[in-house]
Symmetry: C2
Subunit: 332 residues, 2 copies
């Protein structure tokens, strides 16, 4: 557990996000800011989509992972990196490590989807399986780090990870400037809070009046409730959701104080609404988005976002969806 002062000092500044942007340049996809007249009509405001499903490995996670590992290399020798994840973070770390010539071990539950294990291996990661009911994945990762001198790449609670995800906010601000628009409402999915805290760091520095909202699945709305309560609250732990990328138990120690300072609140959407947003993205936006990646779009389509006076930006954070789930979305 960090002390409050440690957590506050760990918050990246705009300069850290700008440094991250330099590090990932040429390796990460510079995703566009997409405009669809039909989405404007539907939302009753000028709206833009930031499609991180088009990012390398199919989600924003590559940005933070690459920034973390590259920063570690700049600071000294890195014999290898270790991470724990059953999904998008695993692939982001494996790909970033391979590109930087660093070995990676990814600790994954033995009942993770075969396709995600296979993808992680294909990207160059060594997969260490564990029993999620009997073993502690963080303890396994820490043991590997200690024994091999590997650097841990955490999923969200780390300044370099947050700064890496924050490059999305920087790109949004740059593209808005180019288009001559000023974002006043920004929505992004939220699990542990690394993505939204990074985005808010960049957006609020460039557009102090913009309101930034964390979007979460109903019943996994720990950040929404924690922001309202003024302290970190946990989810029940007994719920399930198709938004498999957004199942963190509570806000992060480092991310939460940032989000308390910078966010205007949280929004939620149900699994059914997320699935409808997946279908809308495929049919109308021509983008393949996974349920968790579509949660901010879902909240917007349900009319839950505050009215944007100038323009609204919606981050679609990932597109790693099984064929069956995409087909299910298209059947409704």
């Amino acid at each position: 557990m960090l002390k409050n002062s440690d957590a506050a000092s760990a918050a990246p500044a705009l300069a850290d996000v700008e440094a991250a942007a330099k590090r990932i340049s040429g390796q990460a996809q510079r995703t566009p800011l997409l405009h669809y007249p039909e989405l404007d009509q539907r939302l009753g405001t000028r709206a833009f989509i930031k499609p991180e499903c088009l990012q390398v490995t199919g989600s924003f996670k590559f940005r933070g992972a690459y920034n973390k590992i590259k920063s570690a290399l700049e600071a000294g020798k890195v014999p290898g990196v270790v991470a724990f994840s059953s999904g998008n973070h695993a692939q982001g770390v494996a790909a970033a490590a391979s590109l930087l010539g660093v070995p990676s071990i990814i600790v994954m539950p033995e009942d993770a989807p075969r396709i995600k294990i296979a993808n992680t291996k294909a990207l160059g990661g060594e997969v260490r399986l564990y029993d999620r009911y009997k073993e502690d994945r963080e303890a396994i990762a820490r043991a590997i780090a200690r024994d091999k001198g590997y650097v841990v790449v955490p999923p969200y609670d780390d300044p370099a990870i947050i700064a890496g995800q924050g490059t999305i906010g920087l790109e949004i601000a740059e593209d808005c400037a180019r288009l001559g628009v000023s974002p006043d409402v920004v929505l992004a999915p939220c699990s542990g809070g690394g993505l939204i805290s990074g985005i808010a760091t960049a957006i609020k520095a460039r557009h102090p009046d913009a309101r930034v909202y964390a979007c979460e699945p109903a019943r996994f709305d720990d950040t929404t409730r924690s922001l309202a309560a003024g302290k970190r609250l946990e989810n029940s732990g007994s719920e399930t959701s198709i938004c498999d990328a957004l199942l963190s138990k509570s806000p992060g120690e480092i991310t939460f104080p940032i989000n308390q300072r910078l966010l205007s609140g949280g929004l939620t959407a149900t699994d059914e609404e997320a699935l409808a947003a997946v279908a809308f993205a495929a049919r109308r936006l021509k983008l393949v988005v996974e349920p968790g990646g579509a949660i901010a779009l879902a909240a917007a389509l349900q009319g839950r976002a505050p009215k944007a006076a100038k323009c609204m930006v919606i981050v679609c954070s990932g597109g790693n969806i099984d064929d069956e789930m995409l087909q299910k979305a298209l059947q409704n």
Copy 2:
């Protein structure tokens, strides 16, 4: 029928494409040039995707239509525009006309998919249905143009249409310059030839050594065969294909001489290969692409493109696919 000299003088120059880029700026989507490490591996070269499925109305057609109507407005009064199409061109013209405040009549076959008729109406087009077995759609359009003083917006055989589609080539050249790469193989889908002739006009002006290829469905390979024969040949007319956007009977009168001058040849792919490319695009590129829009990607995935020494650019031209067809692609 145009004389050869007329066809040659109708060919747009780079300056016409640059003027088109100015006209569509801020209205058309500035689509990105996407890079996927996995696609590089699969194709054995550095490869980029130009995703025109993300264009306004879901296909590249908006570019040419907007440039044509805006050019006509700059030249004088335009009481309205008329076009004939059962698909992407219909939607592109309706949307461009609405944005420019001009009435549009779209002549569509009465057995066109309901969704395409509905979309065209939703975009502000007045739909005039005709019987495709008994009536001549071009005669109907010409009669409307004559009676109402409307401007005809042809699907491909028109200098302003070709220049508008050529803005894709201009953007490819710009983005390649920004990335420090030089495209040496460029693939794009081809039906009447408006898209590929426009792209080649821009690409060959900026990169004279680049080889540009028209990609067509097997049995609708009129441009491929015509280029080889040195004269315009027709398709049999008795065939069918799921690539509903690529069913023109023969190369255009204006487009063909341009393509003869600028293209290195044609490539083909079967319907099954197009469907496999649709699945690849959804699963790996996170893009929804229609079968015809994926025909260049299909040819590349089948290894039919010549080896690119530096980098290959593949245009995915549209994403207006029915739910059922996308689901079918994902079942294989």
